[in-house]
Amino acid sequence: MNESIRPPIDARTPPAAQRQTSRAADLAWFAVPVLVLILASAWLITSDWLSAFDTGAPPVEKLTFERTVLNGDGIHVQVRAGGSAPITIAQVQVDDAYWSFKQEPPGPLDRLSSAWLHIPYPWVLGEKHDVKVLTRTGVAFVKTIEVAVPTPQAQFSNLGPQALLGAFVGIVPVVIGMLFYPALRHVGRSGMNFVLALTVGLLVFLFIDTMKEALEFAKRAAESFQGTTMVLLVAVATFLLLFAVGRRHGTPTGLALATYIALGIGLHNFGEGLAIGAAFTAGIAGLGTFLVLGFTLHNVTEGIGIVAPLVDSRPPLPTFVGLALLAGAPAILGIWLGSLSYAPHWAALALAIGAGAILQVIVEVGAYLMRRAGGSQGAWLSPSVLAGLTLGIGVMYVTAMLVKV
């Protein structure tokens, strides 16, 4: 019926040249909304009719302290501006005393731009200091340095001891966990289900923990970065990306699955490294031995999780070494960076990526477990799986008590 009122398709088919012009015309239509946007913006800026909303209230000012460095020259803070107008830093007080300072670069701070304030203040080791920045309008922004200790500089002599520490909390426990591998090969079908469920349980804990850390860093970042939103979006994007990459050649099993688990755990251990580095810098190192041992115990389970998908194959030794490094070595990098002064939005970003990676392995290990159990829904309710899940989360939670200071 419709065909009868339409002209024949052949009659509407344009010749080649005509087809080209129409493509150009199609493209031109994309320019229209852009052009309208430009016109609207130009009108908004030139006509200034928004001034009708000007209540005479002072501009909203926001200042975020991103980095703090203490050294022999005094206190150095990096601040980032937010709010509705450029911020002019007028004075600096340290512990309720006006102090001279040098701003670098000088001048008013535009929205989202940052500057260093160099304050030649004779700070006292181990004590608390408040740095207060007064803007032109007299609004005060305060950064509290809870425990003043010299900020480590990135220098070669630090790297060795820090790498050793990172290896001890990252690589050593993963290797110890991997040593369960020969035993795992003889646990039987339901025993294997238990181990895989244990892995899912520990990954669930790590996901929650990583997400929590990421959101905490996000809170400390400048508001314009929309920390919470950024963390959630990056985590989801990472999950989707890794999920898509992982399933290019079907669902990952065996070595591929073990590698993804090691990657997710590695990213989490990077976050743990940041926390340890920061803790040592902040002087919490007094708990040293206890803290390090806690992290070691906490991470043993991770090794078991990584080798669990490998029981059906017999990978060569270098594969195990590679997996252990992938999962554990990022802790070293984390400690190196964490002991330096870093901006919170970068840490939030790194941890959000870690959370997304862990979510991907939770899904894949879960899928693997389902397949092994015969694909039935009931598999999740078998005693060995429930026990594994509970124990995985439980062990991680209890050992985490050792390291939360």
Partner: protein
Amino acid sequence: MRDWILKRLSRRGLLSGGALAAAGVGLATVMKDKPALAQTGHSAHVATSASATATPHAQAHGNMIAMGDVDNAQNGFDPSKMLTDWETGKVSQLPDGRTLRSFEIVAQDKEIEIVPGVFFPAWTYNGRVPGPTLRATEGERLRIVFRNESSHPHTMHFHGIHSARMDGVPGAGEVLPGGEFAYEFDALPFGCHLYHCHSLPLKRHIHKGMYGAFIIDPDPARHPEQAAIARSRLLGTPENKAWQEFVMMMNAFDTDMDGKNEVYAVNTVGHHYSKHPIRIERGRPVRVYLVNIVEFDPINSFHLHANFFDYYDHGTTLTPTLKTVDTVMQCQAQRGILEFTFKNHETGMYMFHAHQSEFAELGWMGMFDVVEATS
């Protein structure tokens, strides 16, 4: 050069200390670093201050000072000139032969710079904070015409003797924006007094800047036994000209409205007299009319370095109420007269400040530059 080497040395010690601490080798190593750190801080401190400013008075404060300088022209008042800026009004004779002294005061909203770069939306008398220092003689009839050109109701409440109608409180002499009122009373008692706005809420009207000194000089004729002392206080007499008189109103500003002051000062601008010392001729005695109007803190104080003074609480006596002290304490609205001399001192910089160290470090400190007499 020596400072530079010291700085390098202690910095190196510090860096290795930092490395050890980060490695978690032990707390003992960190503790050992403590003297090195203190020294580092000190040497850095001296080095930068010496290079930044060469003047001796600046060195006394080192880096503990507000940066830059306030634009006095834009503010419309200069704390250095305020010290001796007496507003004596217009004098005329009443039919009964008494002296009538008239003043004109206008309330205005004005943004003022209270420490370099920090601006405060003040409420002012005659566009300045503190308001003009009104100076009269005991027993005169005073007439203060007060016009309100600001955005809020205000009053002028004088600390003195007057009738209830002239008290300058809501219901008795409060002036609405655009309005006018004339306060009339006798200048009594002699002494160092103040006036301030008493509109409600009182706290805000005071800390926004509505206050000023109100000095009543004693009439020598009324104090025959102490006429010489009274004459030395009476503005314009030869005896008075021998003195160097300054008015100092101790005030403070809460710039972020959190009920805590960010800036403490004498005559508004924090650290002003640290950067612009008050010149004193060594041979001539000094008299300071000191008033405390600081809001939010219960007390304030004045401490003079290397010298002692006699103190006349409220200035209502001609004999000191405190003799030979170097620190005096005042609650809000308390005031008094300080008398001292540097006659037997070396010339040089002599510090004065609140002996609440916090106030001093937040701007309430200054210097007397004692010099040989020029004439």
